[in-house]
Amino acid sequence: MSRVLAVSRMQLINKWTFLGVPAVILGGSLLLSLVIFAIIPVEDKRTGGAAFAPLWYFFVLGIQSLTLTFPFSLGMSVSRKSYFLGTHLAFGGVALGLAVVFWAGSQLERLTGGWWLNGYFFRIPYVIDGPWWHSMVIPFVAAMFFFSVGFWAATVYRRWGVTGTLIGVISLAVLVVAAVVLVTVSGSWPAVGGFFVQAQAIGVAGIVALLAAALGTGSFITLRRTAV
Amino acid sequence: MIDDSGPIFLQIAALIENDIVSGALPEEGQVPSTNEFAQFYRINPATAAKGVNTLVDEGILYKRRGIGMFVAAGARDRLLGRRRDDFRAQFVQPLCMEADKLGISRGELLAMLTAALDGAGPEDALNTDVVSTRGRQHHE
């Protein structure tokens, strides 16, 4: 366990990567949104969605965590298991931080009536407008998912190279396209829409969490057989 | 210093012997530790220890538990005796053979030796140098 924690601490040695950049992206997009809300005053309630900007960085962070620190960690005599757990623990911490910011932000927006501008940065219709704990779980799951996708892609690349990654990505794309075609051909788009409406964001988050867990498991199994 | 001329532990032993013969290491005087030898000559400590232990086995050095290694009483005389035997084999005999090869007569050789002992001329010194240098070049 101590070595898992040591890996987490190692990931945070350079504060900028895990903490600084996401904070700047989030803070920057919040500021920008507020400026826009202020410049263009409208009576209607406005929402941005820019709050999810850091997610793209988390995808990159997933890739970087593997490419930059996996070979280094093995050089530090860390087992692949400790590396995987420690890195995900560190990222889990960051995702939790994001969740807290979303919760606090959305509460603040409610109290101030959208920053006194009727503008909403954190509260996004459908995605984040449920009970208070939804505004924590959903960003957390989203962050973990993006991180897992990046981490998984980098693992596949590390293990099987360019060809493997291409095959992996293309297979995924084929699956998605096949699903779309299937839904279209069977004319079940209304049913799909209905499902999302009924499941609500929190239900979808549950599915995404399962996907993230599957990707994580895949990454772990692959990593265990990856040589440096 | 340490070179390629054979096992290092023998060279270490020879270096210590030299210091005992020259008096740099007096009898009952303390010998540097194995680690000091290793660091100074940049060699493996185990090898240095092997060199020191060779001399312990021969009774030239002895160990004082917890303190270190010392030169045994009578070590210098014993080494001198051994070196004198070596001197004949290593220097005197080759000297005579070389003189024979060059057609230097017994009388001439003795005269050269006497002159060298009285203060060698630069010419003689130069000649011996040439011989030894050529000998080394062969195997390098």
Partner: protein, 314 residues
């Protein structure tokens, strides 16, 4: 038996079209300095990779501290292997790499690491990706030394370092090893420079072990006889000739032999000069013989090999 830190039995590592290690068996004993020697691409790094579970065996068994090192934290935490091409997080500075190392190596000596960084004149606040090859090597050397791991591997640790820095490394290694004995495996193709530091020599060539001996035994195992060609030839007849050189009527022949006192005297009486063969020459010869270079290597082939074994920077 408990003295064995590493025990490898019939280890084979195959890649798609190459056999990097071919049924290798060896043991490393506690608190010794081993030289893992061989040409570039001989299999040195692959062997160390498998020993530290950074790579995998295709066949055979590997035991480190009596256990399989794969995903074995109890074993891994006692060893340190910084590879020659070690990757560091791009945005890390040497100081941050040392901080990371302090998290993982229980014997880590931060003060020692800082002293070494100063000796090597390593800019500690510069990003690692901006360091020169030599400075990068210094980072690896510092982590290897300051980790004080019971089993430490140095993989061609001197690439890009100048002579001064290389000797600084050798000095620190000997001194720190004397104070904190541990098992050190020094992989190198620069044999002459490290020869005196080694207690035991393992030579790999094309995935096979071709020499595995006490360094001093190797050093004393051959002799060079020089003198008039005819006299040399009769003196060395019947012995294994390692290499020979000839200039007009003078020959210099290296043979595998440990001469007795009587034989040495005989040589002296015949007017022959005796010299020793360096560890590097012996290793070069062993590699050449293994590569099918024949019994007595030609001088040209020797020089080419020597050049490869002495080349410092790439």
């Amino acid at each position: 038996m408990s003295e064995d830190v590493v025990r490898v039995t019939d280890l084979t590592r195959r890649y798609k079209d190459v056999t990097a290690l071919d049924t290798i068996s060896l043991t490393f004993r506690k608190d010794r300095i081993y030289g893992l020697l061989g040409r570039n691409g001989a299999g040195k790094t692959t062997l160390m990779s498998v020993l530290t579970a950074q790579g995998f065996p295709s066949d055979g068994t590997v035991e480190v501290f009596g256990e399989d090192p794969y995903e074995n934290e109890a074993v891994l935490r006692r060893l340190c292997f910084i590879r020659e091409s070690q990757k560091y997080p791009d945005n890390f500075t040497p100081a941050q790499a040392f901080r990371a190392a302090s998290l993982f190596f229980e014997g880590w000596d931060q003060e020692f690491a800082l002293r070494l960084a100063e000796d090597f004149q390593l800019p500690q606040k510069r990003q690692i990706k901006k360091l020169s090859r030599g400075q990068l090597s210094a980072v690896g050397i510092i982590i290897g030394l300051a980790s004080r791991a019971e089993l430490t591997f140095f993989d061609e640790p001197y690439l890009g370092l100048d002579a001064v820095a290389r000797h600084l490394f050798y000095d620190h290694l000997v001194r720190d090893y004397a104070e904190h004995p541990r098992t050190v495996v020094l992989s190198s193709h620069l044999i002459d420079e490290v020869a005196n530091l080694l207690e035991h020599v393992v030579v790999i060539d094309r995935g096979r072990i071709i020499m595995n001996d006490d360094a001093e035994a190797v050093r004393g195992s051959a002799v060079t006889v020089s003198g008039p060609a005819g006299v040399v030839a009769s003196f060395v007849s019947g012995r294994e000739v390692l290499f020979e050189e000839r200039l007009m009527n003078t020959a210099s022949v290296s043979v595998r032999a440990q001469l007795s006192v009587a034989e040495r005297r005989e040589a002296a009486e015949l007017g022959l000069t005796l010299g020793q063969v360096s560890l590097q020459q012996l290793v070069v010869h062993a590699s050449l013989a293994h590569s099918g270079g024949g019994m007595a290597a030609s001088q040209a082939a020797m020089s080419a090999f020597e050049a490869e074994f002495t080349e410092v920077s790439r």
